[in-house]
Symmetry: C2
Subunit: 246 residues, 2 copies
């Protein structure tokens, strides 16, 4: 198998969705951590629900609605003075530390993003983080008017990248995404971000720990990734994970 | 509007999914509370993901897979000695205290369940709880091979109940379900179970509180229920909520 193209998920894979936390804590005080976790979980839930209901609205709308839900849940009013700075932060999420170097080291392959994000959100993100020039394409699910892991989303890749499935490696830290991509037929690498740590001693966990327990492990949904990559494509680990030709 | 038929959700609406907690605590000790909440959240997530992937397996399978995920997340091995008693408890969930009386008081209307549960799970539940004789039909999403809130699920109701949408009131405590039913076109009552309580002071919340914050409030997904019913259809409250003819 020779991999000629790599398709990356954006939120959670290249970009750290937890990087909204500092703004959330600044604006929401001691509830900021809770808002951060509720927001992300509700955002993901809304993409699934809208996909399943066939009632699409774009990720900007979903991200805003889920933020409002999270704020109201903890007893805060979703005023513009709370929502605007948090939404703006979502357009400037931090790249994971190793992501830029990893993309740079792979630039002899065709590199593409496939993301739930709206076109405008993805344009803002890739430009603000200075990786736009490394990418051959940035594909938004908006073209399919549904969300991952609907197969219609993964079907956007081949026409864009101009390669067949077997030449493509799909890379995501979101295990539902890894499973969706695998079910569709790609070679898949799942980046395990934080799921492999020690289990809690009892039920007293922080919101972030709860989030991690809920989302940090591989799903048991009948498909498994081909490769497991602890940190993102840093070469020694990638080789160790499966001797893959990337 | 004259309501001639009522359609009830099962899990979380008539039956308390939290009633697995005592067995979970007995088997998992101090991690039991955490297992209870992770299990339910992951179970719901798996229904959405399988629906969106169009890769259906029934609710028994999903419930088992999500239990295994939850146990492994907290560092426990999903052995039969842990899984079997918990799965068995899922076949004998507690009815909410007011549910039997509410159904009894409504028995001059046609009463139906529409649930994500598999036919066998729903048969076991309704028989064990002694409400089977009150129900004209128990409809499983299994007929549509997908999950709520996919419209194909709600479309199962009219042929079964033999009435038109406007004669039917759909009742659920799961707000994604209430929204799906509303989006489909039913009259909808959303039963608010525990979402209206005081907001937390900070981010230190128990797993159950986190669950409640994530799931206890009405979703902001563009549709709203017609009626809000704090406790299940107990008549004074039902009248107060909207003067509805039930």
């Amino acid at each position: 198998m020779a991999i000629r193209g790599l398709v990356f998920d954006a939120y959670g894979t290249l970009y750290d969705v937890q990087s909204v936390r500092a703004v959330a804590v600044e604006l929401c005080g001691e509830k900021g951590e809770l808002v951060t976790q509720l927001w992300r979980l509700k955002q993901l839930e809304y993409t699934s629900l809208r996909g399943l209901m066939q009632h699409y609205e774009d990720f900007w709308s979903v991200t805003r609605a889920s933020l409002e839900f999270a704020l109201e849940s903890v007893g805060l009013t979703p005023s513009p003075s709370l929502c605007e700075p948090l939404m703006q932060r979502y357009l400037h999420l931090d790249l994971y530390p190793e992501a830029r170097e990893a993309l740079n080291s792979l630039k002899d392959r065709k590199l593409v993003i496939l993301s739930n994000g709206s076109p405008k959100m993805l344009q803002a993100l890739t430009e603000a983080s200075g990786i736009a020039h490394l990418l051959a394409d940035v594909i938004s699910v908006d073209l399919a008017k549904t969300y991952k892991p609907n197969a219609a989303v993964y079907a956007l890749v081949e026409p864009s990248i101009g390669m067949a499935k077997h030449e493509i490696l799909f890379v995501s830290s979101n295990s539902f995404d890894a499973i969706g991509a695998k079910h569709f037929g790609f070679n898949v690498a799942w980046i395990e971000r934080g799921g492999g740590e020690a289990a809690p001693a009892d039920s007293n966990v922080s919101p972030f720990e709860f989030f991690r327990l809920l989302r940090g492990r591989a799903e048991t949904l009948g498909s498994t990734a081909d490769f497991l990559l602890p940190p993102l494509l840093s070469e020694p680990n990638a080789r160790r994970a499966g001797g893959m030709v990337v």
